[in-house]
Point group: C2
Chain length 274, copies 2
């Protein structure tokens, strides 16, 4: 398969260019992509250097590179566009339509999307992250009064990364509580959780997948045995049904998907926007 070099070029972090480009290139299974991010291209010199980097890759390759760019400043964008790559820029594609619609000239200021211009949003994300850490794994704090959502599930069902993602991406206060052997055996949730029943959301997962994940952590013993894993998941799902707790099976989902499904299902509002 021919290797296709892909550049994500930005006058800021490159996160938007990466996200956009990734959504597009994953539609083409017949290509083999090598991806490089060139962030902080915020001067003529750096833009010219980016062009040299792209052109060098073009000379080494059988096919021309693809350049996904998010260059706010038109003069720098024009420099990057002189490269030998196929150049796709979101500001080129969409900014004029919005300017016409709003009847307002864009500011052409870089760093507004992921800049700390909004200190308040930064603080909210940090505080939500601290909340997730303090309320991880049934944590000591149990500040469930201020939680937006409390994830429940067996060990390694994806609770912690999901809580952290909800915090970092959306500023949402997500706690998580791992179901204990006691709870799985008697099928009852503790009162301190039931007080917040409307905030509970269950995570479940296919037994085979959970075994793989647990084996990474502890290859031997009951923790990752087929019998134990099946028992825990069956009882957890019974608990969700018993109390009417909405749940999602995380087997085929990424962290982004699990998070989006939780927000969509619960109606919890994003406190910040990425």
């Amino acid at each position: 398969m021919v290797e296709r070099v892909v550049f994500f070029v930005s006058d800021q972090t490159g996160v938007t260019a990466e996200t956009l480009g990734h959504s597009l290139i994953t539609q083409f299974a017949g290509q083999n992509f090598r991806q490089t991010t060139l962030p902080f291209i915020d001067s003529d010199d750096k833009a010219n250097e980016a062009v040299r980097t792209i052109n060098a890759a073009a000379e080494d390759a059988a096919v021309r590179p693809i350049v996904f760019s998010t260059m706010v400043q038109p003069d720098l964008r024009e420099i990057v566009k002189t490269s030998a790559g196929l150049h796709l820029d979101i500001f080129d594609a969409f900014l004029q339509s919005l300017a016409d619609e709003f009847d307002e000239a864009p500011e052409y200021r870089s760093g507004r999307a992921h800049g700390v211009s909004d200190i308040d949003a930064y603080m909210k994300r940090i505080e939500a992250t601290n909340f997730a850490l303090a309320n991880d794994d049934g944590g000591v704090s149990r500040n469930y009064d201020v939680a937006d959502v409390i994830l429940v599930g067996v060990s390694r069902s994806g609770k912690t990364p999901t809580c952290l993602y909800l915090a970092l991406q959306y500023g949402v206060y997500a706690a998580n509580y791992p179901l204990t052997d006691d709870e799985l055996e008697n099928g009852k949730l503790p009162d301190f959780l039931l007080e917040h029943k409307h905030k509970l959301f269950g995570l479940t997962i296919a037994p085979e997948r959970l075994r793989e994940i647990r084996k990474e952590r502890r290859p031997l013993g009951n923790y990752s045995s087929a019998q134990q894993v099946r028992f825990e998941l069956r009882e957890a799902e019974k608990i969700f049904r018993r109390y009417g707790i909405p749940s999602v099976n995380t087997t085929m989902f990424s962290i982004e998907e699990i998070s989006s499904r939780i927000l969509d299902s619960t109606g919890v509002e994003r406190r910040v926007r990425p």
Copy 2:
């Protein structure tokens, strides 16, 4: 200021539509935006319901809504496009250019970008997150041999959220170590850190900003006093200079920017792509 309703519509999570749309609308300071995400629009019925939601917003508002969409499937995209909003879709804008360039028809399969289609990437992100948690705050593990980067800095300089973001977004193994009073006073780093000197990266921050952040946690006492904060930051920066540790001042940066600057400065490779 007129309120402008913005929809992010996707047959998947909506993360790409949110990221793209946010980059664009933040260029217009004269508008007041109200943002709503409509994820998992993956059937005719849901697409028609999304159109009804958008049209209802259009009727209530003085100006038409903006619809940022990432609808992979052309037939669903066509339904969404019948809404009364201004419709901007990245697949409309870019997919054909790429198909022509690759001489390959796109798969039109949704969920490839943030799907768990790549189980390996999911596992890498989870493992990196577990690594960050185990090696947080100078943590018990200190698995610095396998760390990609070790962030050092005073308490509340942004180390933990940055490590978690690097793990969740890029699968990078990031540990962090808070400088202790002892180290700040004698200006020396412990041997277990110096063994990995090439992995160290410093975070610093403006004293006023750090005070604000610390006051959120502990309003009174030495921890958030002007004198203490200035002392710690001055000594931390001396340590960075003494050992030639690259550093970034996080005062005006978001978590995304801090993370991108670390990757850019250290050359640490992303293990997964968002």
